[in-house]
Amino acid sequence: MLESIFGKKIDFNELRKDFTVLNRTINDKPIIYFDNACMSLRPKQVLKVMNEYYNKFPGCAGRSNHTISEEVNKAVEKARESIAKFFHAKPEAVVFTKNCTEAINLVANAFPFENGDVVLTTDKEHNSNLIPWLRLQKKWLIKHDVINSEPKNIFSTDELIKKLNQYKGKIKLVSVVYTSNLDGVSNPVKDIIRICHKHKVKVLLDCSQSALHHEINIKKLDADFIAVSSHKMLGPNGVGALISTKENLEMLDQFLVGGETVQDSSYDDFVVEKIPERFEAGLQNYPGIIGFGEAIKYLDKIGFKNIHEQLIKLNSVATAGLSEIKNVKILGPINASKRSGIISFVIKGKKVHEVSLLLNNMHNIMVRSGAHCVHSWFNKIENKESVFKDGTVRASFGFYNTIEEVEIFVKAVKEISEL
């Protein structure tokens, strides 16, 4: 099917058929899945290759030398190559992790920090890109500081430059989110990297939300580290990757150690394995990695531009609809094209969890509510006094969602606002 659409205009309704879960009904109504920022759905192609692993070659990679093991080796390395190609990196610079959080933790724990070094993040970071740094700060290893957004909640390059000058060479790493899971706004990462590199500061990008619909070319961006999660890119749970360059990875110490991370060991010492294996401790999630590789292939065939356009189209309908509803307030820019596939909102006078549960119970519309693991942003003094103080309801679209689904969603929000 994909072969037939390759190079042509994408028929998203046709692609939708690959996501079998969307055929599910609850109380005789189809489900409407708008929680893609938390986890995307998987096409049957991904599930197929994962099943193949268990049915045909359920062995270990990199250890045994029998046929099944060799098949796993090949499949895993093929996946690594696909992922590397997708991010324009070298295969040996792709380290498999459990998820994006683990990838960030790898850098946090393995980066050669010295006492007094400073790490900067934005004020809209997911806990996965905040807590690792706060933990290091608590252990007196680094100082963590925040680049505050502009009043309209948009990244401030002036503030970044101000901080870089303020700490005068002490900043070793800037770790920023590419696309915020809070409001869908993307940061100007190319500018951030350019400015940081000018100050000889390394940059880590949290690309969990952006990898699905933004081109992430590590070469063009000149990023030092990129952290991604498979489950937000049509892939399986429990797999992520840290993508970097050979030089940057060589600079890192080991984080998790044990099986496969060493070439040799004695009772006194060990010889570290080459990259990327030195960072992949223990038996890996092979079906997950293979599934991740297949998901990447699937995404690559559709093309990030097509996906991005579809998400903006869906979000524009949602934004236009919700903007007309009295009492609804949207978080972030009103222009949907600046929020990719995410629309975060509140209905004044209604609790956010109540709204999400009513959407679910009335129309099977699955959205997320609360602080979306960005508690720190909601705990900012200015936000504590805003309508968003108790969190937001977040609808996040996937390219397999339809305009009809968005219209049902808008109608349902209107119904709830009138209760």
Partner: protein, 342 residues
């Protein structure tokens, strides 16, 4: 308020399922916070409200909207009903513990429906149909007030503190059912319990048993209790057989059977028996067993604890425990409301 209902419902379901146990704990946290004047932080109330109203809104939007708007009032109504139901259940539980039935101390209450005793076996009696005994006056409770108990066989310790009057018959199944309990009660409290047995004869053919008992009691009290216990252990059919009953006398060494039989046929025996009948008529009996422990009357075979609860020597640990628990809960609530206020 919905959390309170959730606490009870999921608390019960939580006995059988770990998933419900988790929700019950959330509900407990929510209720505890509310009664200690703090904000419920689990969001369970929102989840329940949305879940209930969402279903109605899906099926019948008008009803759904109505429920959504008045959810707090509806929750309060159900909570009040639940609390009332719980209070009644508590009272029923207490009544069952103390009186052996859910409804209370009066005889009418004792025969009512009780969930803890669904078959009603605790209140089963064998009803009187002896024409020599007048029917019980409707609505009048059985009483031993004004009854001359000295006419009936009695065991009296030197320093009696409590009184047990046991009205039974030797051919009634319910009397036989309660008899071991009464024996145990008497043995356990032999230093303090005055015990009187009143034989309620169900047919005229059994007059002779009462007369023989009276003669035995007069001749030798120990012999009377031996005769009484033997009759209680015999089957109803055996008791109906006069020869078999009289045969017991031959086995009691302390007396001469012929003298007792002779005594039972005298005018004096008949007079005493008639006096006893007159007294029994005044008791307003419904049937057997009817047991008076001090001022409290019980009909039907109750468990031992029920009779013991009426003795002056009993300490009401159940009540003390309940009061203690109540005081402890109030103290904890005050502590959290005052010192842990958020």
């Amino acid at each position: 308020m919905i959390c309170f209902i959730a606490l009870i419902v999921f608390g019960i379901l939580g006995i059988f399922s770990a998933t419900h146990r988790k929700i019950a704990l959330e509900a407990f946290d929510c209720v505890f916070r509310k009664i200690t004047l703090r904000k419920c932080s689990t969001g369970l109330d929102v989840r329940i409200k949305s879940s209930i109203t969402g279903r109605f809104l899906r099926k019948n939007p008008r009803t759904g909207k109505l429920i959504y708007k008045h959810f707090e009032i509806i929750s309060w109504m159900f909570t009040i009903l639940l609390i009332a139901s719980l209070v009644w259940t508590g009272i029923s539980g207490y009544n069952y513990y103390v009186y052996g039935n859910c409804n209370g101390p009066s005889v009418d209450d004792q025969s009512g429906l009780c969930l803890f005793d669904p078959t009603g076996s605790n209140a089963e009696i064998t009803e009187c149909d002896n024409e020599d005994l007048t029917a019980q006056t409707e609505g009048t409770e059985p009483t031993i007030e004004g009854i001359d108990l000295s006419l009936f066989p009695t065991y009296e310790p030197k320093e009696s503190q409590d009184q047990l009057v046991y009205v039974g018959c030797y051919t009634c199944s319910n009397t036989k059912k309660v008899n071991p309990t009464i024996n145990e009660l008497v043995i356990k409290n032999k230093e303090s319990l005055k015990f009187t047995f009143i034989h309620l004869l169900f047919t005229r053919e059994q007059d002779y048993i009462s007369k023989i008992e009276n003669c035995l009691y007069e001749a030798d009290k120990a012999a009377f209790w031996k005769f009484h216990n033997t009759l209680m252990q015999m089957s109803a059919e055996q008791v109906k057989d006069k020869e078999e009953v009289l045969g017991i006398l031959n086995k009691i060494e302390e007396i001469k059977a012929s003298e007792i039989i002779f005594c039972s046929n005298t005018i004096q025996a008949e007079e005493l028996f008639q006096k006893q009948l007159r007294e029994i008529n005044k008791i307003n009996l419904e049937g057997t067993p009817t047991i008076f422990v001090n001022d409290q009357v019980f009909i039907g075979p109750k468990p031992l604890r029920v009779y013991e609860k009426q003795l002056s020597t009993d300490v009401d640990w159940f009540g003390i425990g309940l009061i203690g628990l109540g005081v402890l809960i109030i103290l904890i609530m005050i502590y959290f409301a005052v010192f842990k206020r958020e």
